[in-house]
């Protein structure tokens, strides 16, 4: 009986979805609205309208800024969910996890110490250069998070934790969401809509500043979240 009800619900959900998919334009057709209007507009006017030479950045942070705002909130929610389900208290996270006192390989420590500064510089480059070329906050933040995880594995749990001080850690974890809210509200106050950018060409530096603030927020927030999820899983008994 229950199985029949499940099948009925699935069929009832599937039929309208399938009907909607059947009405979609053929994928990749040259006469689709995406190809006749949207893509040429992005490619031709993107840098001028949205403020970044890299079209991907234009789309992510300006044309579809709301979508990215939601995405950032989703990542932050994932962190909250991980912290809530794994039930790790801050004290447990500060304690050294089992195996942390095992003798470390001098080779690995040396190579990590030698490479770490270069990884850090590359992170900054990716975050700031996402404006002009492939890269940006998400990529840079991922690599920075990996760097923190690498350092806390090779140089010790305590050293890794000290990179994100306990008092500022919640703010760093929420950095992406806070950056979006700040820029969004500034846009509301100055340009009349949430996450709106000034369109005058004289105010280009304002627009660039907002884009860079968003990139830095996404990078810092992403790195802090990745590192915290790692530490949470490490501390879980």
């Amino acid at each position: 009986m229950k199985r029949i009800a499940v099948i009925a619900v699935l069929v009832a959900a599937f039929v309208p979805l399938a009907a909607a998919v059947a009405q979609l334009p053929t994928f990749g057709e040259a006469s689709n609205p995406t190809n006749t209007y949207l893509v040429p507009r992005y490619l031709q006017k993107g840098p001028e309208e949205a403020g970044a030479a890299n079209v991907v950045t234009d789309v992510i942070l300006n044309y579809r800024g709301y979508d990215t705002n939601g995405e950032v909130v989703v990542i932050f929610t994932a962190l909250i969910a991980a912290l809530a389900t794994l039930l790790v208290r801050p004290k447990q996270m500060a304690a050294t996890p089992p195996g942390d006192d095992a003798p470390r390989s001098p080779i690995v420590s040396f190579v990590v110490k030698a490479i770490a500064p270069f990884i850090a510089v590359f992170t900054v480059y990716l975050v700031l250069h996402g404006h002009l070329s492939p890269g940006g906050g998400f990529q840079g933040g991922t690599i920075f998070g990996a760097l923190i995880i690498l350092l806390s594995l090779t140089l010790g749990h305590k050293y890794g934790l000290s990179l994100l001080p306990e008092r500022s850690r919640p703010w760093l974890q929420a950095a992406a969401v806070l950056a979006f809210i700040a820029v969004g509200l500034l846009g509301w106050a100055l340009c009349g809509a949430y996450l709106a950018y000034p369109s005058y060409s004289q105010l280009e530096w304002v627009r660039e500043g907002w884009l860079i603030a968003l990139e830095i927020g996404i990078g810092v927030g992403g790195a802090a979240i990745f590192a915290t999820v790692f530490w949470t899983m490490e501390a879980e008994p």
């Binding site: 095992a102 390989s105 080779i107 690995v108 190579v111 990590v112 030698a114 490479i115 270069f118």
Partner: protein, 114 residues
């Protein structure tokens, strides 16, 4: 002109050597008996294979006068040569410390077969 041709020939040889090591490494990963020897084979792909191909690409860049691109490729090669053996070392060390026994021939183990 002649120098360009020579450099391109050097590139072809280096890339061929790299591909050879990738092939051998892949066969090794599939055919070798245990974790340690497979790790060893996989590392050969990264160090000798990728290293030689990247060196070939740097020479190709130099033959076209793209010295900055060649230099960037060399930096990537240095990174690969540093990180890949280190990763292999860390993997093998962790496996050994957790008690994974290396494969030995049945005769050496006293005839008993696993």
């Amino acid at each position: 002109m002649l120098i360009e041709a020579i450099l391109q020939a050097v590139t072809a040889v280096l890339v061929a050597v790299g591909l050879f090591f990738f092939l051998v490494g892949t066969v090794g990963v599939l055919r070798l008996p245990d974790f340690y020897s497979r790790t060893h084979a996989a590392t050969k792909c990264d160090t000798l294979g990728a290293g030689s191909i990247l060196l070939g690409l740097a020479v190709l860049g130099a033959s076209r006068g793209d010295y900055t691109d060649g230099l960037k490729v060399l930096v990537i090669a240095v990174l690969v040569l540093l990180s890949s053996p280190t990763a292999a070392h860390a993997l093998a060390r962790a496996a050994f410390r957790t008690g994974l026994e290396p494969y030995t021939l049945p005769e050496a183990r006293g005839g008993e077969d696993r």
